[in-house]
């Protein structure tokens, strides 16, 4: 690691030193209304939950190393994958990019001093942390954590004696947190753009947050009420979905997926926004098809709300519904494909800088493409009958949610790190970590496509001997992945504390955040900037590029 003395552009106390309140120490953080601090609060708590969920994943893979019982019994296995799913989905991937990087960077990127409702922003974080704590506590209550799977399908979720109720409350609180964040971002984007920043001069990450915000506001309440109905059914026997009382369990599935499918667009849209930010910088070219990408975000948000029942093709719907939803599922792939074409076109004849943010973006494109294609396979009715509830599905959604959004989060971390902390991480170590993570990731998940296709069911802790070879490869992949993740995070944490000082604009980006100091001052800007050119215009800008010698 080279210890090159970096020109430090930091000349004023940053938001780390200047608080929005009169408290000191941890209290000044817990009562902050500074969007940057709130973003970091989310980051640290979220990464804790991520680590816990990774650990559960590790245990799952360990159990699947051999057929039959390896380390845990059947019910514990059910609880493991339930918790893994709940934590990953509600505490990591859905809040993920909006809560951390949206909070930190949205105001800066539009030239504002904060979001429009700063105290509501803090409330969002408290709702998040409350949900997380309740979910964590449910693990230790008598009866153990829920074993229903993260989908809480009726009637089992009403019958089981495990702690479903805390899990439902946690999910409800997290949904509320998500709603308030979306509401805050949409209003902020409408009202607080700097003078001259028209809608079409906004960065694409901002566009993605805008589209995501609408999904958060309009879709999340549906799961809110659905989860409340499960609670009501457990406690008061209201029986709206209970077949014994005339209810229809398939209707529960409809309501559940009316939110949970759009939820995956809450997950992926900001990640696509991050990719749209990173590629122009590291290819040194303006983004290809800015308006197409902006509108495709809105189109994905809209069309993504129309396809939910593709999770229910074997549940017992009418044939007409099957046809319609299958058709719509194929249609929603089009705007996503447009984005991939635009990203690749941006790189064409560009001057590529293969730094860690860009490397993670490359992995994203590769993995998201696989995830997308396999999604289309699952969208075909005849194929779905064979592949549904197999490992194929598990691989598909991990490729889009983890290989896609997860890697998008890693890319964002490596891209914006120097701005957030004013320091740089070791790029060589980061590159190695990226390679190990990517190899480990694909070794872990790709075999699941094959074994799923061959018939291995999902959520089974026991299996026929012919599947073992795939399980072993996959489990070894999980170990490689975890080693890579540890390396990646350790490198970042060391960089936070001891990395060399980073300048304002280490990557040569042109969006507004790169014009502030690293780390930013509390109000982001002394004077609100006036915008007169697009967000990816490299024509006149002089870049000061400083990076560690490789």
């Amino acid at each position: 690691m080279a210890n090159v003395a970096m020109p430090a552009d930091k000349i004023e106390p940053s938001f780390f030193e200047v608080s929005t309140n009169k408290h000191k120490g941890i209290l000044s953080w817990l009562l902050t209304v500074d969007h940057k601090r709130i973003g970091l609060l989310y980051l640290y708590t979220m990464m804790t939950f991520f680590a816990i969920a990774v650990f559960f994943g590790f245990l799952i893979r360990l159990e699947l190393l051999t057929p039959g019982k390896t380390i845990v019994g059947a019910q514990t296995y059910n609880q493991l994958f339930t918790l893994h799913g709940i934590i990953m989905i509600f505490l990591f991937i859905i809040p993920g990019l909006p809560a951390v990087f949206g909070n930190f960077f949205l105001p800066i990127m539009i030239g504002a001093k904060d979001v429009i409702f700063p105290r509501l922003n803090l409330l969002s974080w408290y709702l998040f942390i409350s949900g997380g704590i309740i979910a964590a506590v449910s693990i230790f209550l008598p009866g153990g954590p829920a074993d229903t799977g993260w989908m809480f399908y009726i009637p089992y979720s009403v019958r089981t004696n495990t702690n479903v109720f805390p899990a439902l409350i946690a999910a409800f609180l997290l949904g509320f947190s998500s709603i308030l964040t979306g509401l805050n971002f949409i209003t902020t984007i409408h009202r607080m753009r700097a003078p001259g920043m028209t809608w079409f001069k906004m960065p694409l990450f901002t566009w993605s947050l805008y589209a995501t915000g609408w999904v958060q506001i309009l879709a999340t309440p549906i799961i809110g009420i659905t989860l409340v109905l499960v609670m009501v059914e457990r406690f008061f026997g209201v029986g709206i979905f209970d077949p014994a009382l005339g209810g229809d369990p398939v209707l529960y599935q409809h309501l559940f997926w009316i939110y949970s499918h759009p939820a995956v667009y809450i997950m992926i849209l900001p990640a696509m926004g991050v990719v749209s930010e990173i590629i122009p910088v590291f290819a040194r070219r303006t983004i290809f098809g800015y308006k197409f990408i902006a509108f495709s975000s809105l189109a994905i948000a809209l069309f993504g709300s129309l396809v939910w029942a593709h999770h229910m093709f074997t549940a017992g719907m009418s044939d007409t519904a099957q046809f319609v939803f299958s058709f719509l599922t194929f249609a929603v792939s089009i705007p996503s494909a447009i984005k991939v074409f635009n990203w690749v076109s941006t790189m064409y004849k560009g001057s590529i800088q293969p730094d860690p943010p860009f490397l993670y973006v490359l992995s994203f494109i590769f993995q998201f493409a696989i995830g997308g294609f396999t999604g289309l396979m699952l969208g075909a009715l005849s194929v779905n009958i064979h592949l549904t509830d197999t490992s194929f599905v598990v691989a598909h959604f991990h490729y889009v949610m983890f290989g896609g959004t997860g890697f998008g989060i890693f890319a964002a971390m490596h891209y914006w790190f120097p701005k957030m902390y004013g320091r740089m991480y070791n790029m060589k170590v980061a590159t190695w970590a990226w390679a190990i993570v990517t190899i480990g990731y694909n070794t872990l998940y790709f075999p699941m496509f094959i074994m799923g296709y061959l018939g291995m069911p999902r959520r089974y802790y026991d299996y026929l001997p012919q599947f073992q070879v795939y399980h072993v490869i996959s489990t070894v992949g999980s170990w490689i992945l975890i080693a890579g993740l540890i390396m990646m995070f350790t490198n970042l944490v060391i960089g936070m504390r001891r990395g060399s000082l980073a300048p304002k604009n280490p990557w040569g980006g042109v969006t507004l955040e790169w014009q502030t100091q690293s780390p930013p001052i509390m109000e982001n800007f002394h004077t609100i900037p006036e915008i007169n050119k697009g967000p990816y215009d490299y024509s006149e800008y002089e870049v000061v590029i400083a990076k560690e010698a490789k």
Binding site: H190, R191, L218, L251, S305, W308, S318, T320
Partner: protein, 99 residues
């Protein structure tokens, strides 16, 4: 943002207008109750929802000031209602046909 935004919503709706809207709402309530006794078969619910929608239109536009707000708010409402409508319609595609 300059402060003149704070005084833009100076449009005052007079008491009389509210009273007029209220009377209309009462009238529509009366209509919907008396019409409920008539057998329209499958159209009963359509008529009931239609009258409820008219009442909502009054509440939204006058009591909630939507009529006097920026067009952005009207687009927002349209998007929200469209979304709910889509959810209902697509769910019915399952239930309206033989399962």
């Amino acid at each position: 943002m300059s402060d003149h935004h704070n005084h833009e919503q100076a449009h005052v709706v007079e008491y009389g207008k509210y009273i007029f809207v209220w009377i209309s709402l009462l009238a529509f309530t009366g209509i919907t109750v008396s019409v409920a006794g008539i057998n329209f078969g499958n159209w009963t619910i359509v008529i009931a929802l239609l009258i409820a929608s008219v009442k909502s239109w009054y509440v939204l536009n006058y009591f909630m000031h939507l009529k006097y707000e920026d067009v952005v708010f009207k687009v927002f409402i349209f998007v929200a209602l469209l979304t709910l409508g889509i959810f209902i319609a697509l769910t019915f595609i399952d239930y309206s046909f033989v399962r």
